[in-house]
């Protein structure tokens, strides 16, 4: 497994400077994605999921956001140290991204065809016509008639626009596809369609997938592994069935408890007490400790390290790691 690591994020720290103060969006995020792996990154709003995704492509909003520590290695090469040219060659071709809100992530004044074919033309030597041909195929593939190539985003519904986003994402068969909450902004029925589409494409294209979401259902449908993020750090990481079956971290457990299950027994839904740790007022020690029922004294001052509890299943929690 070690030698086919595709993307490695090591102790990544990202800071946002705004007039309301300085916020630490990521505080030592460590994550590895292997070739062909599909990894789910799960966490609540504000946990740093999108920041992590943007960091990978070195697309943090400037000048507010910056990486203050750690490293992102793509195929062993540091993304931060890459030249602009190298970055541009990777973006869209090797690593591509599907954005959260299809209403804002498509340029309203260009046709959808242009917005797909621009990535093709950028990375492949081809004529406009060839690019358009390929774009048509891609559109058909994501369920949009190719004839709508010349239509503008405003002429499409949200779900259709996300299909456009996906088409652009898979256009060049990238090694890694980062999907940042691709269904959040959509209606439930549309969500299901998009998910079906992604599933279909995932089997069709042999692409690694980083699926960022707060929807655990999506992860269990699409991913092999899952990482749980809280307060800008990974707190639990492992195969989906392990993590969801026997969650270790109290936060993960809480997350799972917060999902109503149709099949399971009728038990009371557990809500996690307290508010999510914000980037500007991150608690010392374990970020989760003010909300944690199992909190011990150590949690308030020291950051718990990642510990392997069983093969492939790691957790960052003093209590659970010791309890093993």
């Amino acid at each position: 497994m070690e030698n086919n690591v595709l993307l490695e994020i090591k102790d990544l720290q990202v800071q946002y400077v705004t007039e309301r103060g300085t916020g630490n969006a990521l505080n030592g995020l460590t994550l590895t994605i292997h070739k062909g792996e599909s990894l789910g990154l799960v966490g609540e709003t504000g946990a740093g999921k999108t920041t992590a995704a943007l960091s990978v492509l070195n697309l943090l909003p400037k000048p507010a956001g910056r990486i203050i520590g750690g490293e992102i290695l793509y195929n062993g090469k540091s993304v931060q140290k890459m030249s602009n040219k190298e970055l541009m060659d990777i973006r869209g071709k090797k690593i591509s991204m599907i954005f959260q809100n299809p209403l804002t992530s498509l340029n309203p004044v260009f046709t959808i065809g242009e917005q797909i074919s621009m990535v093709i033309r950028k990375h492949e030597k081809c004529t406009h016509r060839q690019a358009d041909e390929k774009t048509k195929q891609l559109l058909e593939e994501v369920g949009i008639p190719g004839s709508r190539l010349h239509d503008y985003p405003s002429q499409f519904s949200g779900g259709m626009r996300q299909r456009v986003g996906i088409a652009a994402g898979i256009a060049l068969n990238p090694e890694l596809l980062i999907a940042d909450e691709p269904t959040t902004a959509l209606d439930v029925t549309i969500q299901a369609q998009i998910l079906e589409l992604m599933k279909k494409l995932k089997t069709q294209y042999d692409t690694s997938l980083l699926m960022i979401t707060h929807n655990l259902g999506i992860i269990s449908e699409l991913c092999e592994n899952v990482a749980v993020i809280y307060g800008g750090r990974i707190i639990e990481h492992g195969p989906v069935k392990d993590v969801f079956g026997t969650p270790l971290h109290p936060y993960t457990a809480g997350l799972l408890g917060a999902i109503p299950s149709l099949e399971g027994k009728k038990e009371r839904l557990h809500a996690i007490p307290g508010k999510i740790a914000g980037a500007t007022n991150l608690p010392a020690g374990c970020a989760f400790h003010p909300r944690c029922e199992m909190c011990i004294e150590k949690c308030k001052s020291q950051v718990p390290p990642m510990a392997t509890v069983r093969p492939g299943h790691n957790v960052a929690c003093f209590v659970k790691a010791e309890g093993k």
Binding site: D89, R91, G92, F99, L106, N107, V109, F110, S154, G165
Partner: protein, 309 residues
């Protein structure tokens, strides 16, 4: 495109209604003004009988509604009336002056857009740099320059002190330079500012991040993908300015002795040349409406979200 045609027809219809109102306003305004054109075509101190006779000759003795309908009837038949002072058809006078102003406006606009659009885009995409600061200062200064002061200043510098350019008249390309600078700087300033702030706003958009994520470089993003979005408010404002300049460059035309349309209106108001004033206001309102119609059509091509209706 039938859509465009329908829009043009509809807009022209609306323009006609507005022009009708403008014609009433122009007719009323100039007649409320104290003064009598009959007195100006006669020698200073002419006897009252002569003035009265002249009024009859000019039809000014008729009741106002009769005068109005006579005038508007003529306009509908394409006759803009005959100037009281010049005694030649108003149409000829306007067609003589308009191209002069038109040339100045077009040249000014082309040059000032060639400068200000790139400047605004560069400033907006390099927020906080020295280029941005300079462009912002250039823009703020331009918007603070009175045309009067600016005109005299450029004459002082380029004509009087340096002797490079003529300070007056109309004819050669040199004659265009100073009026164009004076007329164009405030617009260039405005466009630079709009370009800059438009660019800043656009660059924050998700779709620009998405474009970067596709591997598109900054240069292409600035000049193509973000540019088009930032262009929309600029087109609108430029259209407004063209419309304004076609009629309202009175100050610049006065300072540079430029025999344009603005001067004609100014003189016509001064001499109470009723038919001339009325028709000049009508023509300028019509030009304004037509230019704005083009702008709306152009904008609808740039931004598909704008529907023509």
């Amino acid at each position: 495109m039938p859509n465009v045609m329908r829009f043009i027809l509809k807009r022209l219809g609306m323009t006609l209604v507005i022009l009708f109102c403008v014609s009433i306003i122009a007719f009323g305004l100039i007649r409320i003004a104290p003064g009598n054109p009959a007195m100006l075509v006669l020698p200073d101190g002419a006897p009252e009988e002569a003035i009265r006779a002249m009024e009859v000759k000019l039809g000014l003795d008729q009741p106002l509604p009769v005068q109005y309908f006579r005038y508007i009837g003529g306009v509908l038949k394409g006759d803009l009336g005959t100037s009281i002072i010049y005694k030649i058809p108003v149409k000829d006078l306007i067609f003589q002056r308009l191209p002069v102003t038109f040339q100045l406006t077009v040249i000014t606009m082309v040059v000032c857009l060639l400068i200000s659009i790139p400047l605004g885009i560069i400033a907006g995409s390099r927020q906080g740099t020295i280029i941005d600061f300079s462009a912002t200062m250039f823009a703020l200064l331009g918007q603070s320059m009175s045309t009067v002061w600016m005109g005299i200043l450029v004459i002082y510098i380029f004509s009087v002190k340096l002797g490079w350019l003529p300070s007056m008249g109309y004819g050669t390309w040199q004659n265009f330079v100073l009026p164009a600078i004076t007329l164009g700087y405030p617009v260039a300033a405005q466009v630079t500012r709009m370009g800059r702030s438009g660019m800043i706003d656009v660059l924050k958009e998700d779709y620009i991040t998405a474009t970067y994520a596709k591997g598109i470089g900054k240069a292409v993003v600035y000049t193509k993908y973000a540019f088009k979005n930032a262009l929309i408010p600029i087109v609108t404002i430029v259209g407004m300015q063209i419309g304004t300049y076609l009629a309202g460059a009175v100050v610049v035309e006065t300072i540079f002795a430029w025999p344009g349309f603005g001067q004609l209106i100014f003189q016509a108001v001064g001499t109470r040349d009723y038919p001339l004033v009325q028709s000049c206001l009508l023509v300028s309102a019509a030009l304004f409406a037509i230019v704005n119609m083009f702008v709306d059509i152009l904008n609808s091509f740039i931004d598909p979200r704008i529907t023509l209706h």
